[in-house]
């Protein structure tokens, strides 16, 4: 189950406080992720990538323009649009054990279905590699495992659109690769629409069908690049693919801007 999610001429202005100038976060951004598409958005830090996702999630409303889920404008958090936060530790409920965290989105369901839903959640935990950890608490898990719990919880909410806000930036490099591969597996199985915001160019290329490059403030859409790499992607083969390297070169150069020398050291942001 998936849905198209689009930004239609979206402008976001944050009002300046106490005489400060207004801050234009986005200027007329039009961008769309098709059903079951994996779209990555990269941009320099501070360009308001998270704000883009928050607007998609209905947590923040645009100043002008529309966010559309299918044909419906997004005003408040729509059902099935799930946000995976960068700070997994802060988005998990510390007082709930792993299985109860995953159960959270399902607790408005009728009591009679609880047993069945609980079994479902156990299956989600198995899918993210956390079978047997149901009764542990978040603080008893490593960072990568905590983010797995957050992913399982997102699956439980039956996402049509999954919004990923730098979800793997706080874990170590090896764990990050594991989680990337896991995410792709789940995406291929469930076919939700995925929008990933990241500053990691390689991560964007590795995961996405298309990569949207944003410019620095005020943020506008610079270009959209098709990632014509074969799937299923592989952490070694894909990353060593000549096309991967040329895409990385192109996107990194685009991010650094025309004034930067694009030698390989500078390209490894």
């Amino acid at each position: 189950m998936s849905e198209r999610l689009g930004f239609d001429h979206v402008t976001k202005v944050f009002e300046g406080q106490r005489g400060e100038a207004d801050f234009v976060a986005f200027d007329d951004v039009t961008l769309q992720a098709g059903p079951s598409e994996f779209l990555a958005v990269v941009g320099p830090s501070g360009c308001g990538k998270s704000t883009l996702l928050r607007m998609a999630a209905g947590l923040v409303s645009p100043t002008a323009g529309k966010v559309l889920l299918g044909d419906q404008p997004v005003q408040e958090p729509p059902p099935g649009v799930i946000y995976l936060f960068q700070q997994y530790a802060k988005s998990l409920f510390a007082w709930r054990n792993v299985i109860d965290n995953v159960m959270f989105p399902l607790e408005s369901a009728p009591r009679a279905r609880r047993g069945e839903l609980r079994r479902q959640c156990q299956d989600y935990l198995r899918q993210v590699g956390l079978a047997g950890f149901e009764e542990k608490y978040p603080w008893q898990l490593s960072g990568g495992m905590q983010q797995r719990v957050a992913i399982a919880r997102a699956l439980a909410a039956n996402p049509r659109v999954l919004l990923l806000d730098e979800p793997f930036s706080a874990v170590d490099a090896l764990t990050r690769m594991e989680l990337q591969s896991l995410l792709l597996q789940l995406w291929e199985r469930r076919r939700f629409t995925a929008i990933l915001v990241t500053h990691d160019v390689e991560e964007a290329i590795f995961l996405a069908d298309r990569v949207a490059v944003l410019s620095a403030r005020p943020t506008a859409l610079k270009e959209i690049i098709d990632v014509d790499l074969p799937r299923p992607r592989d952490q070694l083969a894909t990353r060593e693919h000549p096309r991967f390297l040329s895409l990385r070169h192109h996107i990194t150069a685009s991010l650094l801007g025309p004034n930067e020398k694009t030698n390989e050291h500078a390209a490894l942001v």
């Binding site: 958090p77 510390a94 007082w95 408005s108 542990k136 008893q140």
Partner: protein, 272 residues
């Protein structure tokens, strides 16, 4: 299997194995200091370093404490004090937790009530006992009210600050799952604030006994506070110190019980 190792480590940290050597290193030196100070007290009285009829040796105080226990009257006094402290504490807890949460979440009520609370808070509680005696009399109503008033503030303040400190990510997470306002309050905000509430409640456990004793000293006919004044008139410092000893033991025990409950009920406290 590094993840499993990590789990084992955190489990081990929590169970805190207490070897006797650890006990000697940690607790024992503190106990030793107490014993040393009490011995000094004993000697200073016995050997006449402090010459006063009102400086009884520790052994005499302990004997008095034992006699009090046998007579049973000290337990009745303690029970009277604890009853007032407990009623006031319960009322303060209910009011402090409810108001703390509601004021932090509602702008309207905050604007209405916060100035009042901020004006009343700096008032030293004992200062309003004399005028309140005229209004509430010298009976339980006065003492319980004073206990409740004094205990209210630490509970309210930590609850209020705790709600304000609830991480926005938690609230946003609940929002993206389309959680209702009411369910967000009781299933997300409330449990997230429990550690802060517990900290306020623990501060108040000590305070409620202090204020109960104080109010009994000013306007009492029973309780440890009244007992202290009575034994002062009787010029019996041994009985007075013995009564203080019972208060100290009670306060210490309450704190230990509180910590034990905290450990069990809020295992995530201090973890993130």
């Amino acid at each position: 299997m590094s993840a499993v190792d990590r789990l084992n480590v955190s489990d081990r940290e929590r169970s805190e194995p207490r070897s006797s050597r650890e006990w000697l290193g940690g607790r024992a030196s503190g106990v030793l200091l107490i014993v040393a100070l009490l011995s000094l007290w004993e000697l200073s009285s016995r050997l006449g370093w402090v010459v006063s009829a009102y400086w009884p040796p520790v052994s005499q105080i302990l004997a008095a404490a034992f006699a009090q226990l046998m007579g049973g009257e000290i337990l009745l006094s303690l029970a009277a004090t604890m009853r007032r402290a407990a009623i006031g504490y319960a009322a303060a807890s209910a009011a402090g937790i409810v108001l703390g949460i509601v004021l932090a979440r509602s702008r309207l009520l905050r604007c209405g009530l916060l100035p009042l609370i901020e004006i009343v808070r700096p008032m030293p509680t004992p200062a309003i006992i004399p005028p309140l005696i005229l209004f509430l009399g010298v009976d339980d109503a006065l003492k319980i009210f004073i206990v409740a008033l004094a205990s209210f503030f630490p509970i309210f303040t930590t609850t209020y600050a705790g709600v304000a400190a609830v991480d926005d990510t938690l609230i946003q997470t609940a929002r993206t799952f389309r959680t209702s306002w009411a369910r967000t309050l009781y299933a997300v905000v409330l449990p997230a604030v429990v550690p802060a509430i517990a900290a306020g409640l623990r501060t108040a456990t000590g305070l409620c006994i202090v204020v109960a004793v104080l109010s009994e000293m000013i306007a009492g006919s029973s309780g440890i506070g009244y007992y202290l004044i009575e034994t002062q008139y009787a010029m019996r410092p041994d009985l007075m110190y013995a009564a203080v000893l019972y208060l100290a033991l009670t306060g210490y025990a309450l704190n230990r019980v509180f910590l034990a409950i905290e450990m069990r009920a809020i295992p995530w406290m201090g973890k993130s």
